[in-house]
């Protein structure tokens, strides 16, 4: 079983209240070095068998049509999840 990651972020010019709320909380918790936060979405799509170019093409199209709202969001990455990431996802924090 393969997996494809699709990353979607709000367009840079669009207000991100979620990211702002996090950014506001960080200094209070003693995290001083972080100057801004943007929050987006990460989708992991499971496909049968190995990830093929056809799968990736499908994922890209799904990313543009269903997984993101082009009025306010950008698809920033579509790529096969490599094995190291799969094992990370299954347990140990990176």
């Amino acid at each position: 079983m393969g997996a494809i990651v699709v990353d979607v972020m709000l367009k840079p010019e669009i207000l991100d209240p979620q990211g702002q709320a996090v950014a506001g909380a960080l200094p209070r918790l003693g995290f001083e070095g972080i100057t801004d936060v943007r929050q987006g979405k990460r989708f992991v799509l499971t496909v049968e068998g190995e990830v093929t170019d056809a799968h990736l093409a499908q994922a890209r199209q799904a990313a543009e049509t269903l997984l993101s709202n082009p009025v306010i969001e950008d698809v920033v990455a579509v790529h096969a999840l490599d094995d190291s990431e799969v094992s990370a996802a299954a347990g140990a924090p990176a």
Binding site: P17, Q18, A21, V22, G24, A25, R28, L29, Q39
Partner: protein, 223 residues
């Protein structure tokens, strides 16, 4: 008897909780999230709302408020604490209660009059109910699905820490229809539905919620 009600930025039902405390015959005391002081109250309500917009995870940022630095040890020491809706979420994020609340399974906010069964009538907040009693109070949430791993759920059931359960259709996908849970000692209770919206005839579906607030009064007085 003085019951503190904490206001976080984005709390919405804080005045409602104060009204319910008053209706039960106790004195409500407004507590401020940024003030690391419980002002000697005998019990605390964490009210509903969207603290910090609930943008990250509901209750996640509120958990780090200065008032929580005082509240967490006090609760561990036996202070009665009731978290309603967002308050329940804050209690879970603070690890005062097990499990977590996630997005409703149907992915929509739901507001309705909800039938519940009080499963445990011996916590600090449910003593004035009879075990097994059915009540109707408002439910309103977008992230009310109670989740925990199987082991935790089994333990909660075995120890009688499921305080209230949904009757009829499960409104949000909560595991095992759980509407509220308590800590081991029974002084900390988290509840997704809103008893504070059912304390006054004519405003809310019933007055079934009032007993949560009278319960704590009786328990503190007798303790």
């Amino acid at each position: 008897m003085r019951v503190g009600v904490v206001t976080f930025p984005g709390s919405l039902d804080d005045r409602d909780a104060q009204r319910a405390v008053r209706a039960a015959g106790a004195e409500p005391v407004a507590l401020w999230h940024g003030d690391a002081d419980l002002h000697g109250v005998d019990a605390v309500v964490l009210p509903g709302g969207f603290s910090y917009g609930d943008y990250l995870r509901c209750g996640a940022i509120a958990r780090f408020a200065p008032v929580m630095d005082r509240l967490v040890p006090a609760a561990q020491g036996g202070l009665p604490v009731l978290g309603i809706c967002n308050g329940f979420q804050v209690l879970c994020e603070s690890h005062l209660l097990p499990g977590a609340l996630i997005r409703n399974d149907h992915r929509k906010f739901v507001c309705r009059d909800q039938r519940l069964r009080i499963e445990n009538a011996s916590t600090a907040w449910t003593g004035d109910y009879a075990a097994g009693q059915e009540i109707v109070v408002p439910l309103k949430n977008g992230e009310g699905g109670y989740v925990a791993d199987e082991r935790t759920l089994d333990a909660l059931e075995a120890e009688g820490r499921v305080v209230a359960r949904y009757l009829g259709d499960n409104p949000n996908g909560s595991y095992r229809d759980i509407a509220g849970v308590s800590n081991e000692r029974g002084n900390v209770v988290g509840l997704m539905p809103h008893p504070e919206h059912a304390v006054e005839p004519g405003f809310g579906p019933t007055t079934d919620g009032l007993a949560f607030f009278t319960s704590v009064l009786h328990q503190v007085v007798s303790a």
